[in-house]
């Protein structure tokens, strides 16, 4: 029997970046806020310190910072006709756990999406006609525009101290930046990081081909920075242990370095770790949440009543929280009806490997998670798709983040998987190869979705999330097209051998691609095709807000974190200026 606790104003489910931001703002506004985090508390000191943190086996291979999949797995299948099976070890994507959430182990790649992305369905129809899209695609507009979000992008970048070079300030194109970016109100808070050799080789080749290389916007900082919250960050030293690791140097912008100390000092906020939220509780009308039920680390069950519930867990966990709570109609791919779990999307990742002679010393281990150089000439809708038969694109960049050798030892095609020839190829190419990432958009499709698994359970006895996903043909065509462009750049760098690896189906959970899972609780203007309105408020239960990359109707050509930060500030603004003054629907259904 659950012990009923004293009611609070706000309960936050998941204290990662989003939860920290919402809690900090609402606690500062005078509301009593409880943050429930399933994982452990952790801080730069002592948990993230060297030398233990620089352990490839522990953090890269064995996924030490990730969601405990032995207690809380997901199941997966490519198609609805198959039996979904548990992802028994994380590989393809890596949801984090613990205070600070997945952002603790991010790479710090801090892109904005473009204006086009937020109105993708409308603009695609306008530019290419209404019959251009493949029939299976279910893309839609976001219900917010880039202009709505610009001030919030700006605020988030200044919270992080992002190091970059503007390409477009209020419509004025800036030399050295990305000319394709949508207008920003001012430059980045700190200048770009130093460019590594891979980036320099790429820059020269890409510029020579008439493209527009620019430095990767990085939240591993180029210089010391004090953010508007008064927190100080250090200069990144390019240790090459960024993604899947926590930063020991206070140089990566994560909740612990940019905001948590402020939140934790506020007596209006209470953090409870080791708390696994089972569901959001509804009253008998099913239109009003009364709080949440959770089980603590010792196994005790509690009911935490609250006036407002914010689900701010990792994207796939947001979907599951709503399904377990009976909030919103689950999506049915057969009829196309229902919304929760609909438009689950991902990222379409391809690579190009450029093998150089042994006199070209690359030093791949000198890097931050975001110290590369890239082009957006083939991203989004920055090129004409007429006659190509697909929409979307990818950035192409020399954005390799490390030389950690268990997982990074590139060899040319034809090299055996083991034996003398394998070893010789590893030794020969390790320090003389440039890897490009081609970071592609992921279009929502009718057959791709998430729901509750009928068979497998988590450690608390609840159904786990079932993901049904394969790459739509649209995205595979995009990957082939953009990879060919990447190969041309590799050749222009003067590499001896250039190998393009366009993403091909079927999607597999056995190979790391990205942790950019999106959709499933998408935002929009129409309750028949979205779970939350443009302020990220549940259409069905107005005192529940759901915030995560699960809100994205489809995924764009860039890493999703910065857009999520902007959306979070956008939703916080609506909470503070509208909802909390007069709780109720912010948009009429």
């Amino acid at each position: 029997m659950a012990q009923r606790l004293k009611e609070v104003d706000v309960v936050i489910v998941g204290v990662g970046m989003v939860g920290t931001m919402v809690a900090k703002e609402l606690a500062a506004a005078g509301y009593k806020v409880v943050g429930l985090e399933r994982g452990q508390t952790r801080a730069t000191v002592p948990e993230f310190q060297s030398p233990g943190i620089h352990d490839e086996l522990r953090f890269d291979v064995r996924k030490a910072l990730m969601q405990d999949n032995t207690r809380e797995p997901v199941t997966f299948r490519n198609h609805g006709s198959q039996i979904a099976l548990p992802v028994r070890r994380w590989e393809s994507f890596l949801p984090g756990t613990g205070l600070g959430g997945s952002m603790v182990h991010w790479n710090g790649q801090t892109y904005r999406f473009q204006a086009n992305d937020f109105q993708l369905a409308t603009r695609t129809r306008e530019r290419y006609g209404k019959n251009f899209l493949d029939a299976d695609l279910t893309i839609q507009d976001w219900g917010v525009t880039y202009d709505d979000l610009e001030p919030h992008y700006d605020r988030f970048e200044y919270l992080l101290g992002t190091s970059g070079k503007a390409g477009n300030i209020k419509g004025q194109i800036q030399p050295g930046g990305d000319p394709h970016e949508s207008p920003r109100s001012r430059d980045y808070p700190t200048p770009p990081q130093k460019e590594h050799y891979q980036g320099a080789l790429f820059r020269k080749a890409a510029a020579g081909l008439g493209y527009h290389p620019f430095p990767q916007p990085s939240s591993n900082l180029s210089q010391p920075y004090t953010n508007p919250e008064g927190l100080k960050l250090n200069t990144c030293v390019f240790c090459g242990f960024c993604e899947r690791y926590a930063c020991e140097h206070y140089a990566k912008s994560v909740p612990q370095t940019v905001l948590l100390p402020v939140l934790l000092a506020n007596p209006n906020f209470e953090l409870r770790t080791g708390c696994q939220v089972q569901r959001i509780n509804l009253d008998s009308t099913k239109k009003h949440a009364t709080g949440v039920t959770y089980i603590d680390a010792v196994g005790r069950e509690f009911e935490q009543p609250a006036s407002l519930v914010v689900s701010s867990t990792f994207a796939i966990n947001n979907i599951r929280m709503l399904l377990l709570s009976g909030i919103g109609k689950p999506y049915d791919p057969a009829s196309g009806q229902g919304v929760v779990g609909r438009n689950y999307a991902y990222q379409t990742m391809s690579t190009v490997a450029s093998f150089f002679d042994e006199d070209v010393i690359i030093n791949p281990f000198m890097a931050s998670g975001a110290s590369g150089t890239l082009i957006n000439d083939f991203a989004g809708d920055n090129f004409d798709h007429s006659g190509l038969g697909f929409i979307g694109g990818a950035f192409i960049g020399a954005v390799n983040t490390n030389g950690r050798p268990i997982e990074y030892h590139p060899t040319p095609p034809g090299t055996p998987n083991w034996g003398k020839a394998w070893k010789q190829a590893v030794v020969k190419h390790y320090n003389h190869t440039v890897m490009f990432s081609l970071h592609g958009s992921s279009m929502a499709a009718r057959q791709n979705y998430a729901d509750l698994d009928p068979t497998y359970r988590d450690a608390w006895g609840q159904p786990v999330l079932r993901i049904t996903f394969d790459f739509p043909q649209n995205d595979l065509k995009m990957a082939a097209h953009v990879t060919a462009k990447g190969v041309e750049i590799g050749k222009a760098m003067g590499a001896k051998q250039v190998v393009g690896n366009p993403r091909k189906g079927p999607y597999t959970v056995t190979q790391y691609q990205t942790t950019h899972n999106t959709g499933g609780t998408v935002m929009g203007d129409n309750p028949k095709t979205s779970v939350v309105n443009r302020y990220l408020q549940s259409w069905d239960v107005p005192n529940v807000f759901v915030i995560g990359a699960s809100n994205y109707p489809q995924n764009a050509s860039w890493n999703p974190t910065c857009t999520l930060g902007a959306l979070t500030y956008w939703a916080i603004d609506a909470l503070k200026s509208k909802y909390l003054k007069n709780p109720g629907r912010l948009v009429s259904a």
């Binding site: 452990q40 948990e47 060297s50 030398p51 620089h54 352990d55 490839e56 086996l57 522990r58 291979v61 064995r62 030490a64 910072l65 999949n69 032995t70 797995p73 997966f76 299948r77 490519n78 198959q82 099976l85 992802v87 028994r88 070890r89 590989e91 130093k194 460019e195 590594h196 050799y197 200069t235 030293v237 390019f238 240790c239 242990f241 020991e248 010393i361 030093n363 281990f365 000198m366 110290s371 030389g403 050798p405 268990i406 030892h409 083991w418 034996g419 003398k420 394998w422 070893k423 010789q424 590893v426 030794v427 390790y430 320090n431 068979t455 497998y456 359970r457 597999t508 959970v509 056995t510």
Partner: protein, 256 residues
């Protein structure tokens, strides 16, 4: 506990295959270097590991050691670039990992029902890594015994043929498709070769030296924009003390 000399293993592999798992093989007992394959033309190998460097095996039994040492050295052989799996201590890494939490299924979701599924769904067997190795190594030993053969006595080329047949999934090892076992063996061998020496492989950071990876070293601020210049520095282990001695800690947990 049975105690058997190295010589008796080498000469009596058939008997060794039925020895209890608890059999210990220590450096002192392993006075005779085991016969190993190196890439020389003769096909009969010469050892590249001195007896004093031989690890104490705690997980693998004596028969398993013969296979594991020989197989790992074919996967990552010694060559002109430097030591292979044996010289780097890869079998020791495997032994310590399989005998520890990882071998017992650390970070592996282990509830049924069990269905083999599609290749895109990944590993779906009920076995922990330790159980998988035990099961498959026993099955391999039975296969060899039935053919009156011993893997570690084959020529290098013959060993490669056999390993390739495992890799292709051609064998069923007591119900386990052999490619699943081979993939785990290869993956863990590469881990042991390149992981921090704290885990018991990558001895003296030989694999890092071979490719020029500086290990746990953590500051390239002054070097990163000196483009194309080789970074000359001794690699650093995370378990290195002030005198440069690396302390073995194979039991580091796979969480924070």
């Amino acid at each position: 506990m049975d105690r058997v000399t190295r010589r008796s293993f080498v000469t009596g592999v058939g008997a060794a295959s039925v020895l209890p798992a608890a059999t210990l093989l220590t450096s002192a007992q392993a006075a005779e270097p085991v016969k190993q394959n190196s890439p020389d033309a003769s096909g009969i190998a010469t050892p590249d590991v001195s007896a004093a460097d031989r690890p104490t095996y705690l997980f693998f039994n004596a028969a398993e050691v013969l296979f594991i040492e020989a197989a790992c050295e074919r996967l990552i052989p010694a060559d002109e670039n430097g030591p292979g799996a044996l010289g780097a201590g890869v079998p020791n890494y495997l032994d310590k990992q399989l005998g520890g939490a990882w071998g017992a299924g650390e970070r592996l979701y282990r509830s049924g029902p069990w269905v083999l599924g599609t290749a895109t769904q990944g590993y779906q067997l009920p076995f922990t890594p330790a159980e998988l190795f035990r099961t498959c190594l026993r099955a391999i030993d039975h296969e060899m015994t039935a053919k009156n053969a011993a893997f570690h006595e084959m020529s290098g080329d013959q060993q490669d043929v056999y390993l390739k047949s495992l890799e292709s999934g051609a064998h069923e090892l007591d119900g386990v498709p052999s490619d699943i076992f081979f993939d785990m063996l290869l993956k863990m061998s590469i881990e042991g070769f390149f992981a921090d020496p704290a885990y018991g492989g990558n001895k003296d950071m030989v694999a890092w030296r071979m490719i020029g990876f500086p290990g746990a070293y953590a500051d390239y601020y002054e070097s990163i924009d000196k483009h194309g210049v080789k970074f000359e520095r001794e690699p650093l282990s995370l378990a290195e003390d002030g005198r440069g001695h690396v302390h073995m800690r194979p039991d580091i947990p796979a969480n924070l």
